[in-house]
């Protein structure tokens, strides 16, 4: 805990009254804070790429997804940096999922307004092939196969109800357990299990046996 020791005393002398104020701060605090920042940096560096892809799958826009992830990182750093490190993962995804939900709400309102003027966003705007990054290091066939599999999975994920998609991505992609997923989604463990089970069932059905 931070503690400042303050000492005020009059300067020994004749008529002159000069005050000296000395403050001492416990030295361990600064080192702890720096250590905390280092841990937070490591945590964010470890989670940011997967978080970006999860957000991108959910909202289909990489730039917007980058903004959402950055916003989640800032909020976590501002509000929860002092919390136990084990809590960071579910808290981070809770912030991110809230951001994604807000984004969808805003998009709905925007599309409604645009539709009044005869314009609206279309699902055709998003081209996963055009958005696919360059291959790195793998054989072209293997790369193509994996990329295609992911594109099919992304399309199937987008057809899922939002809560099922959240449960599936957090459990499968991020590897969160039921309790952490429940914190991230803001629901009970039972709901997580139900959403996840339904998501897997629907995805397998939609993607077929040969996926």
């Amino acid at each position: 805990m931070d503690r400042a020791i303050v000492e005020i005393r009059a300067w020994p002398g004749t008529e002159a009254s000069v005050f000296a104020v000395s403050c001492t701060r416990e030295p361990s605090t600064g080192a702890n804070t720096l250590q905390r920042e280092k841990q937070l940096n490591q945590f964010l560096a470890g989670v940011e790429r997967r978080a970006l892809r999860i957000a991108e799958i959910a909202i289909r826009d990489r730039d917007e997804a980058l903004d959402l992830v950055q916003d989640a990182m800032i909020r976590l750093a501002n509000n929860y940096a002092g919390r136990a490190e084990a809590e960071w993962m579910p808290l981070f995804y809770r912030i991110l999922q809230n951001g994604i939900r807000d984004w969808h709400r805003r998009a709905k309102v925007r599309n409604r307004v645009l539709s009044w003027f005869g314009r609206g966003s279309s699902d055709d705007d998003y081209d996963p092939v055009a958005e696919a990054p360059d291959p790195t290091g793998r054989g072209p066939d293997e790369q193509l196969q994996s990329t295609e599999a992911m594109q099919q999975l992304e399309r199937a994920l987008r057809d899922l109800p939002a809560r099922q998609r959240e449960a599936f991505m957090l459990r499968t992609f991020e590897g969160l357990d039921v309790a952490a997923t429940a914190i991230a989604m803001g629901c009970s463990g039972g709901s997580v299990k139900t959403h996840y089970s339904r998501a897997v069932h629907t995805l397998r059905e939609n993607l077929g046996e040969h996926w």
Binding site: D2, A4, V6, I8, A10, G13, E15, A16, S17, V18, F19, V21, C23, T33, E37, L40, N41, L44, A45, E48, R49, R50, L52, R53, R62, L66, V69, Q70, M73, I74, L76, A77, N78, A81, A132, P133, D134, P135, T136, R138, S146, T147, A149, M150, L153, F168, R171, T172, F173, G175, V200, H201, L203, R204, W211
Partner: protein, 125 residues
């Protein structure tokens, strides 16, 4: 026997989905990674900003107490009573100069110089 197979098939499906996802994460381009890196540093800067603000916030009452104490003395004893010693101004000037560090390194020499009568020293030499 159907249930274990179903469970196994679901697990295999999840593993495959995870592998495809991990592959897509590995393929993120350099520009995107750079933006993520910048975003992370913005977040960490926010923490450092908070820490600085908290530190200054902690010192604020100290400054306030000191100012209040000084003001009280001025009110009680009158503004004329609160005067710095005449030499203090010159002392501050010396302290603010960067060369003054050199002086501190040779403090013993200057103390000796101050206590020695130079004229007497010159006559002796």
């Amino acid at each position: 026997m159907k249930e274990p197979n179903e469970k196994q098939a679901a697990e295999q499906f999840s593993e495959r989905a995870k592998a495809a996802f991990d592959n897509s994460v590995e393929q993120l381009d350099a520009a995107t990674l750079s933006r993520l890196n910048r975003g992370r540093h913005v977040a960490l800067d926010a923490v450092q900003g908070n820490r600085l603000a908290a530190t200054w916030g902690r010192w604020l009452p100290v400054t306030g107490v000191a100012a209040a104490a000084l003001l009280t003395m001025m009110l009680v004893r009158g503004p004329d009573a609160v005067t710095l010693p005449a030499d203090s101004v010159a002392d501050f000037e010396i302290l603010l100069e960067s060369e003054s560090l050199e002086m501190f390194e040779n403090l013993e020499f200057y103390s000796w110089l101050d206590s020695t009568d130079l004229d007497a020293l010159g006559n002796a030499g």
